[in-house]
Symmetry: C2
Subunit: 190 residues, 2 copies
DNA sequence: GTCTATAGGGGGATAGAC
DNA sequence: GTCTATCCCCCTATAGAC
């Protein structure tokens, strides 16, 4: 049971949590309906198909990320503080709650999810990479990050690491995830 | 349609491929049956429940990995060659075919798969980590690998990276995966 | 916006014939 | 070992009343 001020938004919240928890093929309208305290059909009123619902979750997330990184609270940070902010999202909002990131969840099931969703996953993944790439490049220029090669490749590596480490945390526990975070810093910081 | 010399083995092969392709919740007995050219019930004869089938795939994989690493062809390699061997598994057998690793596939769906399967995933993940940790420690002692911190943590980071990068390859293409492999080497080799 | 009712399909699984 | 037949459940989705 969940407090309802705005059903449509609450449905998105529940769907997002379920996606991070059980994956697209692992959750159902019934899961959302029972938690929300309504019947199945009420969900279909707001989001006719499961694909619609999944896409809405992804679009909201992309919008949220865009707002975050363009907000002065993040935009004006040093590269090192930006990295900390980013790593902290993965630690406190995901690993410590047994959640994984939406991108990883849906890429693991990529070949068994609707095409429209696949596109959203691609878009979000690219957007995360762009931001991280720029942050890494800025940090190297400021001599706080140290790495060989291209910022784009280092960004792809880092994001892959985080994505995989969240999944590892599920089977082996959050302490292993924290160890990976520390190792990332050892590898990157001067 | 698939050639049948030994149904039970062929079923395992198909199930393994499907797990890497669509995930546990994304494939069905019907997928296997139709590819094998038999009816649904024939699969249940060999593996009564889907959980049984999943566990059998995992146990065979664990056994295979154990044989590999204890075989002289791998056991006697230098640490650097061992790493190349390992990375090549991920590149040629997975990324270039749109497959992901069993561990990543099932950890992404961890909260929506049977408990017996969860245990197998944990075991395999630990076994991979142990081998990689030893290889990294040996390589650092031989001064071919360079990294700060504990081999156990570096192993967890590396495996996470590979797991995540395979998933990324699905959405963004295998070239991105190859770039991550190169970055791993840049980060690790002297 | 939410309900009841229901359609229609696919899933996992079992019984018993061959 | 594989078949046909069947069960039962859950799923996504829709129609129409309230």
């Amino acid at each position: 049971m969940v407090r309802i001020e705005n059903s449509k938004r609450t449905i998105l919240n529940l769907a997002e949590a379920l996606l991070q928890d059980k994956g697209f093929n692992g959750f159902s309208y019934a899961n959302i309906a029972s938690e929300l305290g309504v019947k199945n059909a009420a969900i279909h009123y707001h989001y006719p198909s499961k694909e619609d619902l999944g896409i809405a979750v992804m679009q909201r997330y992309r919008e949220r990320f865009k707002l975050w990184i363009n907000n002065a609270r993040v935009k004006d940070l040093t590269p090192e503080a930006k990295l900390d902010w980013f790593l902290n999202i993965y630690t406190s909002m995901r690993a410590d709650q047994g959640k994984i990131c939406l991108v990883g969840s849906m890429e693991a099931e990529f070949n068994s999810i609707p095409e429209g969703l696949q596109n959203e996953v691609q878009n979000l993944h690219k957007e995360l990479l762009v931001w991280l790439q720029i942050t890494l490049a800025d940090g190297r220029e400021a001599r706080v990050f140290v790495f060989k090669g291209e910022p784009a490749d280092k960004a792809a590596l880092l994001l892959s690491t985080l994505q995989g480490a969240l999944q590892m945390a599920r089977a082996l526990g959050p302490r292993k995830f924290h160890a990976v975070i520390e190792q990332i810093k050892l590898d990157l910081l001067k």
